[in-house]
């Protein structure tokens, strides 16, 4: 095997990170809006008793440094040193606390190149970057690898917590969950695909805070999902009328009854976790515990400048030999 040489791509990671990883489903899914056995109209659930324990699961990722690997074949293999953290906010009675914060560091290279793991000391901490190879060798591939890993970690955590029989809200669609019977609820903040016909979607615009649409089934790929829209806060005068709308979904394996229960529960309780605009620019959709969790997770990733300097030092040592 040829000697692999890792060199720094000296531009700071931010310069290339403006692109978004495309997580949206392109193909149109099959949707059935008549599953709950009620008319297509606004549902205002009677106020449910809040489950004793709620969890909000989320993750963050960060590119610490981009690299270019030289395997003496003449190819340009792109890669990165990246960090990802996932964790949960546990809300029990009136105490919200961070739980199960897990930090992972990865050394990812494209073109199916598996590098040696790297580990080095920064202060009292040892940073261990696990090696990961992604098959493609396009510029976005290592980043997608990091994103996938974060999503998979989120899903793992959500599954661990859901087995506690508590109510778990995970960030984003449920694509990465493995179990069919999962009761974890996915919370989708960005409305990219309405899934509903224009006339049906009209109902979403009419929702008031604490109200939801009836359930609808999205059939696509491996898993079917029950989904519903909830409004968590009234839009301000200048906001468009779907500001404050969340789409939630749960695996259909969880059962219709469970789905209805979760739908009513979310309509009753999620609005109390919505923040005001001054607290979070992504409010109200970005719920307060989730926003706080993201800050905490980013904090746990460590200081980006210190880590980047440690990586530079390490690469200097490796290439000096």
């Amino acid at each position: 095997m040829a000697q692999l040489q890792i060199r720094l791509d000296p531009w700071p990671p931010e310069y290339e990170s403006s692109f978004q990883i495309d997580e949206f489903e392109e193909e149109v899914a099959q949707v059935d809006a008549d599953v709950e056995g009620v008319a297509w109209q606004v549902i205002e659930p009677s106020r449910q008793e809040r489950p004793e324990t709620l969890y909000f699961v989320d993750g963050v990722r960060r590119v610490e440094a981009r690299i270019i690997v030289d395997d003496s074949s003449g190819r340009i293999i792109r890669g990165l040193f990246g960090s990802a953290a996932v964790g949960a906010v546990r809300v029990q009675n009136n105490v919200a606390s961070f739980e199960q914060i897990r930090v992972k560091r990865l050394l990812i290279a494209g073109g199916g190149t598996l590098l040696d793991p790297e580990s080095f000391k920064v202060g009292n901490a040892i940073l261990s970057f696990e090696a990961l190879a992604v098959p493609e060798n396009i510029p976005t591939a290592p980043m997608a690898g990091l994103q996938n890993l974060m999503r998979a970690e989120e899903a793992n955590l959500a599954e661990d917590l859901a087995s506690d029989s508590a109510c778990v809200f995970a960030d984003g669609p449920l694509t990465y969950l493995s179990g069919v019977m999962q009761t974890t609820v996915g919370v989708i903040k960005r409305l990219v695909q309405p899934y509903l016909s224009a006339s049906q979607f009209q109902l979403v615009r009419l929702l008031r805070a604490g109200q939801r649409t009836p359930l609808f089934v999205i059939t696509k790929g491996k898993y079917d999902r029950y989904s519903w829209y909830v409004r968590v806060a009234e839009p301000r005068v200048m906001d468009h009328d779907v500001a404050g709308i969340l789409r939630l979904e749960v695996r259909s394996g969880a059962g219709l009854e469970r789905a209805k229960e979760m739908a009513d529960l979310s309509a009753s309780w999620i609005p109390s976790f919505a923040g005001e605009a001054f607290r979070d620019p992504r409010s109200p959709q970005n719920l307060l515990p989730v926003g706080a969790l993201e800050n905490e997770l980013r904090h746990r990733l460590g200081d980006p400048f210190t880590i980047r300097r440690a990586i530079e030092t390490r690469l200097f040592q490796l290439n000096q030999l």
């Binding site: 009136n94 919200a96 606390s97 976790f273 307060l288 515990p289 706080a292």
Partner: protein, 536 residues
Amino acid sequence: MSAEIGKVLGTEDAQPLDFWIAVAPDQLVQLDDVVFVKRDLPGGGHVSLYGIVDIMKARHEGARFNSDVFLSEEGILPLGRSTVAHVSVTRVEPEIFVPPLPGLSVFRAAGVDRDQALFFDSMRRKFPLGLSRDGEVVYGNFEFLDGSRGAHINISGISGVATKTTYATFLLYGLFHSGILEDDVTNTRAIIFNVKGEDLLFLDQSNSARRPETDRDYARLGLVPEAFSSVGIFAPVKMHEQVLLPDTGSRQEGVTAFCWTIEEFCRERYLRFLFAEADDETSHLAAVIASVEAALARENDFSNYESFDDLVDFICASVVHWATAATGTIAAFERRLRASAFRVGHLIKGRVSDAETHRIDWKREQVTVVDIHNLHDRAKRFVVGVVLRRMFEDKEKTGTARPLVFVVLDELNKYAPRDGWSPIKEVLLDISERGRSLGVILMGAQQTASEVERRVVGNCAFRVVGRLDLAEASRDEYRFLSAASRARAGILKPGSMIVHQPEIPTSLLVQFPFPAWATRVSEVLKRPSADPFKGF
């Protein structure tokens, strides 16, 4: 055993003389806790930094808005809590001034470590100042009190809540009973002027309001709670009475009525103390007073003067022969002499059958209480001036510093005011400047140190404050207090004082136990007396 309470934090600068620590969530740390941290040095060896917690803060971590606290309490926003404490370094051992490193463990100092932190280990002779908040003894270095390296105590605080004289008497009790005076204890004396109320007239009576925990506190201090055993109480004679009775309200028995004879007044040249008001400073007047004093001292026969008024009349008639001065000055002299005579005259008697028994003999008992609370201000000044000068002259004659004499005097601002000159101020200045070598230790107190002569306060090795008015606390006289102590001086409870002494670079909060002696008539422990109906 010293226990870990937290770690040096790295979000604030740690400096060799002050640093912040993050307090472990399961630890109780409070202001005044004594802590230490050990730091290894490159190339071997280590340095220990000892200090006292003087500021504490708690805050939410991760909160950006003040209203986040409501969301946190509703369980919507997860926030961390942190408690941090600021440490003022009191001692660095060995003296290598390096900052403690962030992450180092900080320990609460106990036992030997605490003694090191507060320099108790290097005090060869120490006396109890009180107890710290955590119930440990706080010592003062006796070498800074007995004159060998310094002397005098000054106490400031608001009347009524600052418990200044009670603290002074507690210190005396500690000095007399802790064994620090060794063999000198039998001959060491204290003169206490009782300027307000009758609080100090019961020093020899046990306190009935004493609680069991008081005994524990005394035991911690190494003291047995008892009343003062050797107390002489002197009160001025009653005005307008032929019989010489002490002018006290709640206590009569065991109180000696004091007065002076006209002969004594003239021979000892006490006249100047009748002109003790701070504004009586014109040199012309002083010259007249000196001349009159000299003339009176030359007199042989005092039998003509039945009362002080007779003497005043004689002086007024003769002054023009004794002194040469402008008519205005003579008139001023007469006016003031008569005004004083009206207030003080009853203390100076023409014929007293047994004058010796009515003299304030400060050597007779260990503690002499001179009650002047009932007297007019002019008379108070006269008594204080005369007693202090007598005592000071006696000490000068013996020529040795030992045994010591302690003088407790409240309302120093009256006797040694910042502005003006008076004969008493001169005596007090003499005591504060030369008393150190003569073995006269002034325990002065006042509401506001800013109104007392700078040199009197400045010569005190021990500076104490009780509850202070906050405007007063911010004056220069209290620069020895840290900003945090200054703020706390405004909320000190009775029984708590902040003490500063030369060796310890920071002021310490001490609590002193409830007095074991009665401080008012209602507290006097009634001894089970014999059958009250026995006489029938």
